[in-house]
Point group: C2
Chain length 478, copies 2
């Protein structure tokens, strides 16, 4: 915690004139091993993380509040706030994964000035800080899905299970077929890239959809539960589709063993965790009742969510599915209300990190028609966007036995592709399957569906006036 002496000195130097500096004893010139670089960097990594978190919170609040005043879902504003501070605009929040280096980051520039740091040091600090923020964002979406699980009702979800499965399957099959066939027929794409692009159309971002539903107070409605259930199943299907197309792209054939394994492990995990959860419920309440120190309820609950997230991660599912299952299970206990209340502030500070980061990583440069390379992509993107919306919107009409249901809302709820769609584009690009225009088109499709879905969903859900106000009062949604 204590800054080391050359950390202090390196600061001091920036406050002194060059002349004064030259007369200061250069304490460390003879003993470069005097302080470990790790501890030296450590203090700056913390400074970078602190500055980045403040940037993230400022962006999320400015964007969220503005969005709210415009009567749009706050999460849209958080995403846009992320874009403003991200790679597309201010470059305060950039990540090495997208090819950024330390000198691209405005925050690193500030630290470099403040600390008189050399390029190597800044490079290390940038990587560490990016790693920390990325993990915090992932923990943020884990907390979000845990909260969504706590707000969801397992019985209601089981009741709409078949409908959710139908919606998910249609929502994977329709965009995939429309996209692949359309690309081959209209744009004369080769088959394998067309299949890859079609696969990228199948994803649904459970995080964005469920956040909007929660903001509108619609999470517990039949429509809301069908959408969440379908998004969960869609996530599992997305992982299988990804495995299939990736192996197809690389070897020209499908690795059946892997596909069967994925289907089996995903089903076992989701059903198994809910069944075992019924037993765990009681032990959980018994444990929480016995604990006498601070966090007696929250720590065991969060630990359970983290264990489930870890297990889901380990068996090739997404960590967020485990957190969602943990939330569902704990929602069945008597401690539900108390837990909701305690998770709320944790979610308040953890979730914005995720949404702002998603926005910050979206490179809107691909939307610029002035760049010749983008133009071909934009035409394909327009086609993919149409397929992406139509292919998901029709899923609402696949719901049977619910004549009163808002079919349009269900379809629109499945539209945002979010970060899952970007993973397809990234893998496709890395494996060399996708050419530049097609890759750009997929990214444009992902960005537009992600940003269009929140306002569209609010529109078709015909928001009751009170819902957003309730949420603003920080009362736990119940």
């Amino acid at each position: 915690m204590l800054p080391t002496i050359d950390y202090c000195l390196s600061h001091l130097s920036s406050f002194l004139t060059p002349k004064a500096w030259s007369t200061l004893p250069t304490l460390l010139a003879e003993t470069p091993e005097a302080t470990t670089p790790e501890s030296e960097y450590g203090s700056w990594v913390l400074a970078g993380v602190l500055l980045t978190l403040v940037t993230i919170y400022a962006a999320s609040k400015l964007g969220g509040e503005l969005s709210k005043r415009l009567n749009l879902p706050p999460v849209l504003g958080e995403l846009v706030g992320g874009v403003v501070v991200g790679v597309s605009a201010l470059q305060l929040l950039v990540f090495p994964e997208s090819g950024a280096v330390a000198s691209d980051s405005l925050i690193m520039g500030i630290l470099q000035q403040l600390g008189n740091l050399d390029a190597t040091a800044v490079g290390h600090i940038f990587e560490s800080q990016s790693e920390v923020i990325s993990v915090l964002a992932e923990l943020g979406v884990i907390v979000l899905l845990f909260e969504i699980g706590l707000e969801s009702d397992l019985r209601e979800l089981t009741k709409v299970g078949y409908q959710a499965a139908i919606v998910a399957i249609v929502g994977v099959a329709a965009p995939f077929l429309l996209g692949t066939v359309g690309l081959v027929a209209i744009f004369h794409s080769p088959v394998i890239p067309a299949i890859f692009a079609g696969a990228a159309l199948t994803a649904t971002s459970i995080g964005i959809t469920s956040k909007v539903l929660s903001e509108l107070g619609q999470l517990k409605s039949t429509e809301g539960q069908i959408i969440v259930g379908a998004a969960v199943i869609d996530d599992v299907l997305g992982i299988i589709v990804l495995a299939v197309v990736a192996s197809l792209a690389k070897t020209g054939e499908v690795d059946l063993i892997n596909v069967v394994y994925l289907i089996f492990s995903a089903t076992t995990f989701l059903l198994g965790s809910i069944l075992l959860g019924k037993f765990f419920n009681r032990s959980f309440v018994a444990i929480a009742d016995k604990l006498q120190t601070r966090g007696a309820l929250l720590i065991p609950a969060l630990s359970f969510a983290l264990v489930m997230a870890f297990l889901a991660n380990i068996i090739h599912l997404e960590a967020i599915l485990g957190a969602f299952a943990a939330g569902l299970v704990l929602d069945e206990t008597d401690k539900r209300k108390e837990l909701d209340q305690q998770v709320l502030p944790v979610a308040d500070i953890a979730v914005p990190i995720f949404f702002v980061t998603v926005g910050a990583k979206a490179d809107l440069g691909v939307l610029n028609p002035a760049v010749a390379e983008n133009r071909a992509g934009l035409v394909i993107a327009a086609f993919l966007l149409a397929v992406a919306i139509i292919g998901k919107v029709i899923t609402g009409w696949a719901v049977f036995g619910k004549p009163e249901i808002n079919r349009l809302a269900i379809g629109v709820g499945m539209v945002p592709r979010g970060e899952v769609g970007l993973v397809f584009a990234g893998i496709g690009s890395a494996s060399g399957v996708l050419d530049k225009p097609l890759e750009a088109a997929i990214i444009v499709m992902v960005i537009l569906t992600t940003f269009l879905a929140p306002p569209l969903l609010q529109l078709v859900l015909d928001e009751p006036e009170g819902a957003l106000e309730d949420e603003a009062e920080l009362s736990p949604v119940d």
Copy 2:
């Protein structure tokens, strides 16, 4: 979020017999660039962080509850829980700073088995995961000091300001003089190492002391406020002492400009933030009242704390001092109660990461008398420990104008050295000033004062029976 295909395959391999595996197409043999190593590692870094957090929470709860049952402060149990999972015992939680490599970490071993990872990959994952956990621990102690600031009373603290300053100054001067003179006179140490060891005796761990006071419901007592005030001043003095002895150790002379600069910036920061805070208070309430989205109160409050922590860090103070000042300022607003309640669950999950990490990093190997190298150190350690306790305990009798005060409690409250003491040992060791026995002795002194102080403080504060029970009900301490 989605696992990549070779991530899936690398998993799959561990579930298949070698024969089956050999017949699987080795998808990536021809295209090693097919997935980026970062995204590949990313998923495993998250897995490592999740498993580490679960380990930390389990250790903190088991330790904390056990300590509570033994009628000891829970934070002692969290520290001991950290020792059990740390470098001294189970090696689940080890850090590269202490020289550990990936193969020393049991968690990394588990991940390696699960994912069939090679040594290079595990090395990268270990470093990233350690970096993330270290930053989370630092954020944890920032949240702790923010909460302590919120629980402290600025007016009460100002009232005892002179007493706190006296306690801090005596608590720095007495152990420093006793330790340095004693080492030279009794152990015939050379002067510079003796000065270094004396300096290491001056630190006070504000985190551990204030946590114990909070657990005992004594934070708002006159004694509690004197201890916290003195610990804050001591932290500032500690930074100055460190700067002095480090430059002395390296060049044989004291860098006066730096010392003056440190004293000036520290005083300006602490007084300035409190004065400016009086203005900021009103704007803060006005802003929080206008916000309509989730986290309307918590996000601006936490952002303020992070900005203050960042500023403190940048001007060579400790980040936690900034967070403490932020808490003090916000405690003066009408939003105090509401904020206390919302910070509580955040502190519940963030603070244990800090204490368990401190415990995990304490290497109890230096206490083993079977190692010949340790024996010389242990004799010096016994001397340092006596000086460390006596030098701080006498500070209580330096308090004037408060005849009714529990002088012993004030002195004992200043005893724990915590992580600050370890920084002295680390820098001394890196700069080559300290020989092995003296370095070991300092580490033993730091560990023992840290672990002895919580039960001693509880003993001398003659805990009222109700205090700990109240705290267990998760009601915000007010």
